[in-house]
Symmetry: C2
Subunit: 182 residues, 2 copies
Amino acid sequence: MKGYLWQHEATAGQPKELLDWESVAIDAVGNVIEFWGFKRNQGRVWALLYLRDVALTAAEIEKDLALSKGGVSMLLRDLERWGVALRVRTPGDTSWRYRAETDLLKMARRVIEEREFSFIARIRADLEEARKLAENDATTTKAQVQRLKRMETLAEATEKALRLFLKTSRLDVGGMFEVFRS
Amino acid sequence: MKGYLWQHEATAGQPKELLDWESVAIDAVGNVIEFWGFKRNQGRVWALLYLRDVALTAAEIEKDLALSKGGVSMLLRDLERWGVALRVRTPGDTSWRYRAETDLLKMARRVIEEREFSFIARIRADLEEARKLAENDATTTKAQVQRLKRMETLAEATEKALRLFLKTSRLDVGGMFEVFRS
DNA sequence: CATGCAGTTCAAAACGGCTTGAACTATATG
DNA sequence: CATATAGTTCAAGCCGTTTTGAACTGCATG
């Protein structure tokens, strides 16, 4: 949830390895995924793999999406780590190929779980620290301590909302996403 | 949901207008609010007003949070527009003062409603367009159209999840936030 | 209407995250 | 082990966002 600016017109006028409809769809997925807090290009790579439904090499991805060698390497490693792309070695082939694993939400869940919760935990710890400092300070009023406690409640509530969000996205979006399995 | 890096140690070593516990708490709120997709300093200004519980002038905020004159002006206008800060004119005073309105979630709801939904709508439109283009292209396979449809489902699901998220944050976090009213 | 202070605007600077590409490592092959 | 090709790493550059600060507007006052 940040500022998202449109890519898409910007994509026009490239060497063009992608069909028009492919690049529209790929960018759209890039935008959704960015909305979920990931990199646009992680979504674009996944979308390419998913749409083509064949295992592509890093070099092909690099060419089709006009990304750099190094970038593709890192993006693929992210997708692989999150279990949404699969590295396969085709029999007589010299390089790795990648396929889309279809549960894209796996990615959202993993990463959100691993980073957002520690983030909120840290905020809660800070607020608790602030309250303790304030309580040890003779000049602090009761009302101030009270307000700090309320701020802690705010962080707790945020954590709760996030948890709920994950859970519901698991059920609701997850349910929808499962259409991808096939 | 983006990259959040710690401010806080970074804050150390300033002219220091804030008590230690105040700056810890204020930065913590800045971090939560950034998580919700706003500017850290919008949260910090709100937190200062809330903790102090008196109406402050722009000049005081500027000094305490070490922000620029122009910055404070813009931040306050944002907060006011979203209804989380109140501009008051004290009787014999020459300048405006600001108080915290306590429902910080009002801010989240407003902005999320006004920008996230149009964002998702746009994505859905793009995917629909891609599918139509693909359908008009003789080389497109049935399976590809199928995959595009599934991607549309993904965007729909995202919209649904967002709606649910807003609603639950209204009930759940909203309920918690109400502690702030007093 | 000159002066001063509060508040706003916006071009430019600072900042931070993302991407690039050159140097490097790993691996396969003759 | 020399060569070639695939894959990784990371410092430097790019680019979008946020912040700054100087110029400006508005308004009150003598």
